[in-house]
């Protein structure tokens, strides 16, 4: 008996057709309840993201609707005014914010990288005090910013440092606020450098410092810079701690780092927003637009940098 004749019998044909029908039924017959549950779940997830986005969109629409009329070059060139809102601007506040940020970067980059290198490369993680430091840095990143304002007031403006209500004091306060963020980001970047690179370098007779300086740091710089930008954009948006360490609301001159009063963009916005005249409300909204644009640009740059220079091992 050959295979061909076997296949051709009517009985076999019937059996094959039956088996095929069963397979088709099993493949196609999805329970109805499953379909509904799947769709419902996907819809809920979509709703969650829409709610998250709605906040941002509402903010943007509100700010543009209110502030579009006040958007002009005057915003960047003129100082604040309490009597002529139509020509008042943010010049001292913008310059103050830039100087504050410059101070934050100067302070936070060396100390943040140094602390991260110590924790990742030198600290013996089996020792309890090193673990304690780690946990505390995580906690510090979650401390409300107003607390840093109080710290800045009692230790930097007054107390041991006694700088007075000057821009440098505000800068130091903001730096302390974002330092834990920078340390955490830098540690992650350093940890991402594989051990095989360190071993390869040490096996060539490089010292530990040469290995860190010439291999580990260059490989982790993109991640560290990304972290610094994100930290700085947080510092840029902070008003609460600055109010405590002397950022005045009404500064008509360009601020100096170590003398005289100073102000910052969020503080100026806060001041304009609390006034009753409608023109000042529009000014505050225009200030919000300026700040949003700067912050979004900084964050986008950080994301671009991370994607562009991220090392794939």
């Amino acid at each position: 008996m050959t295979m061909g004749s076997e296949r051709a019998t009517p009985r076999n044909r019937l059996a094959v057709a039956g088996a095929r029908a069963t397979t088709q039924a099993m493949l196609r017959d999805q329970p109805r309840g499953d379909v509904i549950r799947n769709t419902l779940f996907a819809a809920l997830l979509l709703l969650a993201i829409l709610i998250a986005l709605a906040g941002l969109v509402a903010l943007l629409i509100q700010a543009f609707a209110q502030g579009a009329s006040a958007l002009s070059i005057d915003l960047f060139t003129n100082g604040p005014s309490s009597i002529r809102p139509e020509s008042a601007g943010f010049r001292p506040a913008i310059i103050g914010s830039l100087e504050l940020i410059a101070g934050v970067i100067l302070f936070v980059v060396p100390i943040g990288i140094g602390a991260a290198l110590y924790l990742e490369e030198y600290a013996d993680k089996t020792r309890w005090w090193n673990r304690l430091i780690e946990v505390n840095i995580q906690n510090l990143a979650a401390v409300p910013s107003i607390i840093y304002g109080i710290l800045g007031l009692s230790f930097i403006v007054r107390g041991p440092l006694d700088l007075g209500f000057v821009l440098a004091a505000g800068s130091l306060t903001l730096a302390l606020l974002v330092l834990p963020m920078v340390i955490i980001a830098a540690r992650e970047a350093i940890r991402a450098v594989p051990d095989s690179i360190r071993q390869g370098s040490l096996a060539l007779g490089a010292t530990k410092w040469q290995t860190i300086r010439r291999q580990v740091l260059p490989a982790s710089i993109p991640g560290i810079v990304t972290g610094v930008i994100l930290a700085v954009s947080r510092a840029l948006g902070e008003a609460a701690p600055l109010l405590l360490v002397g950022a005045a609301a009404f500064v008509t001159f360009d601020p100096e780092p170590f003398s005289g009063g100073y102000t910052a963009l969020p503080v100026q916005i806060y001041n304009y927003a609390t006034r009753s005249q409608e023109e000042f409300q529009a000014l505050a909204a225009a200030g919000i637009i300026v700040m949003l644009v700067v912050l979004l640009a900084m964050n986008s740059f950080a994301i671009w940098l991370r994607n562009r220079y991220e090392q794939r091992w």
Partner: protein, 297 residues
């Protein structure tokens, strides 16, 4: 140069002393070989034991590694081959809790002596790792890294070319020295790591399963390279591949896992150390024969 000479001088004295010791002490029979025992010894290990956090990983290792030999360490997983290899350039120092006991002489000097700087030792005893680990830099900078950190900056181009030629990679990369080393194939990356290693002009090269991540053609190239390199360097290679040990090495050490009575602890033990030909054709120990013939492991 002066330092080199003085090192060689004390090395010779120490070797003479070691020869006397060897004449007095009766060493295990399997370690005595007329032809090779007269040759210069790079490493002399006696009763070497390595412990991690107080637990032995290998015990009782006694073997001599000779100049311009390829010495292979073979044995099943967990027998401590890599651990032993990493003792030889003090890479084990980097593992917290690692400890080396026993006598480990390098050109007659105690490698673990109080005055020995592990960083200096690693300049003389290079290492190639299991997985190619080029630095995320250009091909040129990979090779130039060693000479640069050692302050040998004159004729850097010539040094790089010599090292790349030495690693049989020059012809493949000479037109793209500035491109990133990550763009090379796995086999090329491993030869780059060998070039990087020989650029610092070591005396010995340790290779920790250098071909286990490579395809057979790349493996063949690296094996050919090892045979060339032994003219200039002494090579110690850890390998899982017994054919590779048979092809490239002059001497082979076979290690095995040993268990204590209640099987709680395990450590590596040297079973046999001999000329490669003898290990693979006529081993003295039954366990070696079972392993190299594929009956176990």
């Amino acid at each position: 140069m002066a330092a080199d000479e003085s090192r060689a001088g004390t090395g010779r004295e120490a070797r003479e002393a070691a020869a006397e010791r060897a004449a007095i002490a009766v060493r295990p029979e399997e370690f005595q070989h007329g032809s090779s025992s007269k040759r210069e010894k790079v490493f002399e290990l006696n009763g070497v034991e390595v412990l991690y956090s107080g637990v032995s990983a290998v015990k009782g290792i006694a073997l001599d590694i000779h100049r311009n030999d390829v010495t292979a360490l073979i044995g099943p997983s967990g027998c401590g081959k890599s651990t032993l290899l990493r003792c030889l350039n003090r890479m084990n120092d980097l593992i917290p809790g690692a400890e080396v006991r026993g006598e480990l002489l390098y050109h007659g000097e105690d490698l673990y002596g109080p005055e020995v700087d592990p960083v200096q030792a690693r300049k003389l005893i290079g290492m190639v790792f299991q997985k190619p680990n080029p630095f995320p830099k250009s091909i040129y900078d990979n090779v130039a890294f060693g000479p640069r950190i050692l302050g040998r900056k004159e004729d850097l181009d010539a040094t790089v070319e010599r090292a790349l030629r030495g690693a049989a990679l020059w012809d493949e990369v000479k037109d793209r020295l500035d491109s990133n080393a990550f763009g090379l194939s796995g086999g090329q990356q491993q030869r780059l790591c060998i070039a990087r290693c020989i650029a610092v002009e070591p005396d010995t090269i340790l290779m920790d399963e250098p071909c286990s991540a490579l395809d057979p053609i790349s493996t063949g190239k690296i094996e050919d390279l090892m045979i060339e390199l032994k003219e200039e360097f002494s090579i110690v290679i850890v390998t899982h591949n017994m054919q590779q040990a048979a092809r490239v090495s002059d001497r082979t050490a076979f290690l095995m896992v040993e268990l204590d009575a209640d099987e709680d602890n395990r450590w590596g033990r040297l079973v046999e150390f001999d000329d490669t030909e003898k290990i693979f054709t006529n081993p003295s120990d039954q366990r070696t024969e079972d392993y190299v013939s594929g009956k176990v492991g």
